[in-house]
């Protein structure tokens, strides 16, 4: 279902809260691109060691490392394109940024040795996000790739990430620097006070609070950086252009748990507010709800009370009697869990843009951290409807569903629920 999404976009940005399989999903998308003939690269934050190992790029570094075709061939895969992987190195990236934009060696050294800069680049929150987006920019500009998949930091601070370019620009705003630094350097406090009462007051307070040394450091940092501001400002514009390009797609990766979905909603609202609409949603580790035989389960769904009947059916099929109680209760556990997940996913979906494809990947019976695992994911991420799991369920399709690309797993959910959620939306008023 993500096939056309990947085909029509050059940059795919996977967002979502931590622990939902963003890294694995990103790698699976990039691998698929490579198999389809794209020059693909995945920029990751936190690779599973086993995944890096299996790609033959055990030492993921701050440059894209190509995945050898022989590694793919071992798994019977023949990429018509190419695959590369890289890991974000925060410290190095800041230094390279400075090196690239510093007007002279002397300025570069001054910045790199500045205590404020050292903290800014290493200790302080937010710089991780700056760097992820900076690296994306470098990869796009290099022209070496036609599919770039970005695995975003596992963070609730989605805001930081998307607003990073804006924040860089504000932080390095010329006017701000002029206010904050220049009077201090050129005219001293008296001038600052005369210029603006608020500024003068704030200066005194900042100085009291921080101690002169810090302010002098910061001043020095800014005056050293002043030659680089235009370069940074241009950079921020490039980044904005990439994020808003029609060839850039945001894909939300999430899980079916209640708390995870609450955060997914937040992410979805956030990107919409920033005019970067979601172009796909991936649900990972979904428990499969199996169709319940109406002859055996009158309600159409499995309930706790059905355990004895299930156990009896197992015994009849020749399963060893002592194993049956656990098998039956485990099945009911799974089906109740799956039912709850299906309802929650359907509710979540009703709040999303109609056309966003919606894919669910099952929980499987192991975690996916190798090439074989990525291939298993492909079956669901890029399947056409007929390849999807357990398609035999005969839920009636609501008429409207044909217009939106629906996933089979979603169409399995009770149509009554979907109709209700649609009905709840306020009717569009034909106001002129």
């Amino acid at each position: 279902m993500l096939g056309s999404l990947v085909r029509d976009h050059r940059v795919v940005i996977c967002i979502g809260s931590g622990g939902v399989g963003k890294t694995t999903t990103s790698a699976a998308i990039a691998l698929w691109g490579a198999l389809q003939g794209r020059r693909a690269v995945v920029l990751t934050i936190d690779p599973a060691r086993r995944l890096a190992d299996s790609l033959g790029v055990a030492s993921l570094g701050d440059e894209p490392r190509p995945v050898e075709p022989s590694v793919l061939a071992c798994h019977g895969l023949h990429a018509r394109g190419s695959l590369a992987a890289m890991m974000l190195d925060q410290k190095g990236a800041w230094d390279r940024l400075v090196a690239r934009h510093a007007p002279s060696d002397e300025v570069r050294e001054r910045i790199l040795k500045n205590r404020f800069y050292v903290h800014l680049s290493q200790s302080f929150a937010g710089s991780y996000e700056y760097m992820a987006i900076e690296q994306l920019c470098v990869l796009v500009e290099s022209g070496a790739y036609d599919l770039i998949v970005l695995d975003t930091p596992p963070t609730k601070h989605a805001l930081d990430f998307f607003e990073a370019p804006q924040r860089i620009r504000e932080f390095l705003d010329r006017r701000l620097v002029r206010w904050l630094v220049m009077p201090y350097l050129s005219q001293g406090w008296a001038a600052a006070k005369a210029m603006n009462r608020t500024v003068g007051f704030l200066f005194r307070k900042v100085e009291e609070a921080t101690g002169i040394a810090a302010l002098a450091e910061i001043s020095d940092f800014f005056s050293a950086m002043s030659g680089m501001f235009d370069a940074f400002a241009a950079r921020a514009q490039t980044i904005q252009a990439i994020l808003h390009a029609p060839t850039t797609a945001f894909v939300l990766v999430t899980g079916p748990e209640e708390q995870v979905l609450t955060e997914a909603e937040f992410f979805s609202q956030k990107v919409r507010a920033l005019h970067m609409p979601l172009k796909g949603v991936v649900f990972n580790r979904v428990h499969e709800e199996f169709p319940a035989d109406p002859a055996m389960f009158p309600g159409g769904t499995v309930a706790r009370a059905d355990e004895p009947a299930i156990a009896a059916a197992m015994v009849a099929a020749g399963v060893a009697r002592e194993r049956v109680p656990w098998l039956a209760s485990n099945f009911v556990d799974y089906q109740l869990l799956a039912r709850g997940e299906a309802l929650r996913m359907e509710e979540f979906r009703s709040g999303l843009p109609r056309r966003a494809p919606f894919v669910s990947v099952p929980n499987f019976d192991s975690d996916l951290h190798d090439l074989a695992g990525l291939r298993r994911m492909h079956r669901y991420l890029f399947a056409r409807t007929e390849h999807a799991p357990e398609p035999s369920v005969a839920w009636p399709e609501p008429a409207q569903a044909r217009r939106a690309p629906l996933e089979p797993s979603a169409s399995r959910a009770q149509p009554t629920l979907r109709r209700r959620t649609r009905a709840e939306k306020p009717p569009r008023s034909p106001r002129r």
């Binding site: 599973a48 086993r50 200790s123 609730k156 307070k205 556990d333 951290h369």
Partner: protein, 315 residues
């Protein structure tokens, strides 16, 4: 059923995103409140998970009692800074002048680390608060953000010590660092699931907290542990069975598969993260709320009581 974890004033709950930090934080807070303590459950930074869990609709910027003896608070760095300035600048007009100025907003939005510093500072401030009965809170349980950000938060006070010359901020930062490092008052608990990526990250954060930040470490909570009486190999083959039997066996295979993974990584955790460990079972719950937290607490209490007395020892 007493464990020295319950004697600390501040318990930080740290771990990779999505492993159940909020669940463990809520569990500890409920356990303390049930012991008659006045507990503050504080969530660092934005997010709605903990609020959902407690059935609180919105983020609260003032402590709100959600259960008897248990108050909930969301700490927003920007808000904490404004609050802090109100303490430093007691003259109302001046305070308003600063907080409403454009420059202030630029500075706050841009200054890296300031919000983080203020967030940790706010926890220190709450710890110090007095009421007519003595300390306002007997215990503060902190639901920290995902690992990477947690480290940045916990490192900020120290970074501020290094970055700032003598002055007010430095003095304040020193107090916060003192609290964080004091093993009699503070303890950091880790949360993970027994799977590859969370285990790797937990091993790493454990090393960082112990060796680089020198913070007192407490208990490792391993969340969502699957158990199954059968190994994947013991489950009969799937082919040629009736549909229902096939589905039942598939679910069994899935569960025993995860149980095997959890067993393997629990064993790895024993060497990679040498902390007393509490395992919390995966709950098959259609919804996850306070009732489920209480169910997990029953599992945790028994194990905590049996743990060796090593909490807060010097690393």
């Amino acid at each position: 059923m007493h464990h020295e974890l319950y004697d600390r004033r501040v318990i930080f709950v740290v771990g990779k995103g999505g492993v159940g930090k909020s669940t463990v934080a809520a569990l500890l807070a409920v356990a303390l409140a049930e012991r008659g303590k006045r507990v503050l459950l504080a969530q660092m930074g934005p997010g709605r998970r903990l609020g959902e869990l407690l059935g609180v609709a919105v983020e609260t910027d003032a402590p709100t009692e959600v259960l008897p003896g248990l108050s909930f608070l969301t700490i927003d760095g920007g808000m904490a800074l404004a609050e802090y300035l109100a303490l430093v600048l007691p003259v109302k007009r001046l305070h308003r002048l600063v907080v409403t100025s454009k420059l202030y907003h630029h500075f706050v939005a841009a200054a890296p680390g300031l919000k983080e510093l203020m967030t940790v500072g706010k926890i220190w401030y709450e710890e110090q608060l007095e009421s007519t009965y003595g300390r306002k809170w007997d215990a503060i349980v902190v639901d920290a953000p995902a690992t990477g950000h947690s480290l940045q938060y916990l490192r900020m006070p120290e970074a501020a010590l290094e970055a700032f010359g003598p002055g007010l901020v430095r003095r304040e930062a020193q107090k916060v660092v003192d609290l964080l490092r004091d093993a009699r008052r503070t303890v950091v608990c880790l949360v993970t699931t027994a799977e590859e990526m969370p285990v790797n990250e937990t091993a790493e954060i454990h090393t960082q907290l112990r060796d680089r930040l020198g913070l007192p470490l407490g208990v490792l909570f391993v969340n969502r542990v699957h158990t199954a009486p059968l190994t994947p190999e013991e489950i009969p083959a799937l082919s040629g069975t009736p549909r229902l039997v096939h589905d039942v066996l598939r679910c069994a295979r899935e569960e025993s598969g995860w149980a095997a993974i959890n067993r393997r990584y629990l064993a790895r955790l024993q060497t990679a993260v040498p902390l007393p460990t509490v395992a919390l079972p995966f709950l098959f719950a259609e919804e996850f709320g306070l009732r489920e937290v209480r169910a997990l607490l029953v599992h945790a209490e028994g194990q905590l009581a049996a743990l060796p007395s090593v909490v807060g020892r010097d690393a």
